[in-house]
Symmetry: C2
Amino acid sequence: MNIAAAKAFIESHTDFVLAAHRSPDGDTLGSCLALYHALRTLHKTATVACVDPVPPYLRFLPGSDTVVQTLRAVPEAAIYVDCADHARVDALQDTLEQAPFQFCIDHHGTNPRSTKDGDWVENVAATAELIERLIRALGVPVTKEIAECLFTGIATDTGNFAYSNTTPDTFRIAAELAETGIELPELNRRLFRTMPLRKGRLIAHTLQTMELYEHDTVVIACITQKDLFACSAEEADCEGLIDYLRDLEPVEIACTLRESPDGKIRGSLRSKRGADVSAVAAAFRGGGHQRAAGCTLDGPMEQAKQKILPALLDAMRAFAGTR
Amino acid sequence: MNIAAAKAFIESHTDFVLAAHRSPDGDTLGSCLALYHALRTLHKTATVACVDPVPPYLRFLPGSDTVVQTLRAVPEAAIYVDCADHARVDALQDTLEQAPFQFCIDHHGTNPRSTKDGDWVENVAATAELIERLIRALGVPVTKEIAECLFTGIATDTGNFAYSNTTPDTFRIAAELAETGIELPELNRRLFRTMPLRKGRLIAHTLQTMELYEHDTVVIACITQKDLFACSAEEADCEGLIDYLRDLEPVEIACTLRESPDGKIRGSLRSKRGADVSAVAAAFRGGGHQRAAGCTLDGPMEQAKQKILPALLDAMRAFAGTR
C-alpha cells in the first residue's frame, strides 16, 4: 500500500495530467474522471488525457466531455491511471515522460512498477477502488458525480460483481458509493444493457447459423466478411459473441471462426465446465487457458472449419470421459 | 422492524415448515433454505415446502433436494417466507393454516400483514436480507452454504444489484456473504448466464423477424405458436424476450406480440427513456406503467399487429415531441 505516497504527491503539486490507457474502458476513464473532480474540489488544475476518444457508452460520465486526446504542454505532474505499463498511454508518453513529477496508480498484478518506485500498485478488482480510498484520504467529499465515475470503474472491471476479482471490499465500496444516491438502474442499463442494432443482428445471425455436435455439447459458428456486411456490423461487434454460444445449455465447448479482411480465420474458443480448449488452440499454434483460448487458421472458412472441428470433438470426448 | 418477534418465534418452537410461494424464485427458495440450514444448526426440525418443484437453475442450492411439494402432517410452527399473502403457498395453505403457531417474513410493500399482526414485513430489496439479519440475531454462524442461499435471493431479486430496490445495505450484506468464500463467478453463471438452446433459437428468430419503424426507434416482433414449435420453445421461454428488443439502440419503444394457444394475442410493451406505453396498453384495455405495460388483442396475428402499430408510432411521436 502506498496511499500515503499518492496523497503526498497530490498535495505537493498543483497542475496535473491524469492519463488513461489507450482503448479506454470504464475503469481507466472512471478512475481518471473521479480523480479529476476531486482535484478540482481541491482547487488544482487537472486535465484527463487519452489517446483514443471516449467510447459512446461512457460519454455519460460527468466530465467526459473535457477529455483531451493530445497534450499541448508538459504538465507539472503526470499520473498514469490504470496503466499496466507506461507505454499503455501510447502517443501521450513522449510528453508525459517530460513532466518533472510522475506517479502511477494501478491495480494490475502484472505491472512492473511497485511501491518501491514510489508508485501505488495494488492488486484489487479495479483501479477505481484505489481512487476511492485516495479521495477519502484527501478529505474530499464523494459526490454523486464522483460516485458515478467510481462505480463505473468497479462495475465494468468486475463484470457487475461477477468476476473472481470481486472481494468483500468491492461490495463495501459499492455500498459507500450507493449512499450518494447514484441511479443504479440507469448506470446498469448504460454499462451492460445497451446493444447496437447491428450487433443484435449479428447475434441473431450467429445463433441461427451455428452448428451443434455431440448431443449439442459442441457449438461452432462461422462469421464471414459477407455476414458482417449483411448485418452492417464491424469486427468490433464480434466481441463477446462467443459468450452467447458458451452460455447455451447443454453446450460445453463453443467456437467462433471469424474471417478477417486479410482472409485469415480467427478462432475463439471457450469451455464451460472444464473441457480443455487451450490444447485445441495449441494444435493450431494458438494459445490461451483451459476455458478460453484462440488461434489463427488459413482460409477459406469452410476449410478452416473442417480442420478445427475434429479437434473440438476430440476435446469434448476427452472431457466427457473424465466425468 | 419485528426481528425480535421472529427471533422469539424461532426460539420458542422446535418443529417448523418453511413455506415458499408457488412459481418459486431465487428469493423465496434461497430464504427458506438459508433458514432451514440455520434451524438445523440450532438442532430444530425443519422442512421446506413449495407446491411447485424447484426450477432446474436453482437445483444447485444446498438443501434444494430436500424441498417437498406436499405436507403429510401439520407442523408445530409454520413460517410463510417471501409470500406477499398467505394464498401464495397455494395448495399448502390448508395444512399450514392448521399449524398452532404461524409467522410471516416478507419484504413486499403490498403485503397486508404488518408488525402489528406479530409478523415481520419490511420493505427491503429481498426477503433474504431479512433472513440474513435473523440468522445473525439467532447467533448462528453464516456458513458458505447459507451464504450461497442468501446471495441467490438477493442477486435474483435485485437483477444482480441493478434494480432500484438495491440499497447501500444490500451491498453491505453482499460484502458479508462474500466473506464466506462463495464463488461469485459460478453463482453468476448459474443465475444469470444460462440459456436453454431453445431460448437462444427463439431470441435469434425474434431478432431476425422484428420490424423497425420511425428511424429504428420503434420495434415490433411477432411470435406465433408455429414459431415456438419451430424453436422447440415453450411459452415460458418468451419471458424476457422483450428486454432484448428494448436494449437495442436506438430503440425507444419495443413491443412483442405473442400468440396464445387460445388464439388471443398477448402484447408486451416497454419504453427505454420515458415514452408512455401504458397509454398504448390502455387503448386496448390493458394496463401497466409508463415504461412497462401489457394488453391482450384478438387474433389473428397480422390483424393485431396492424391494430397496435399506429398506437406505438403515435406514442413515439408524442415522446419525440417532448425532447
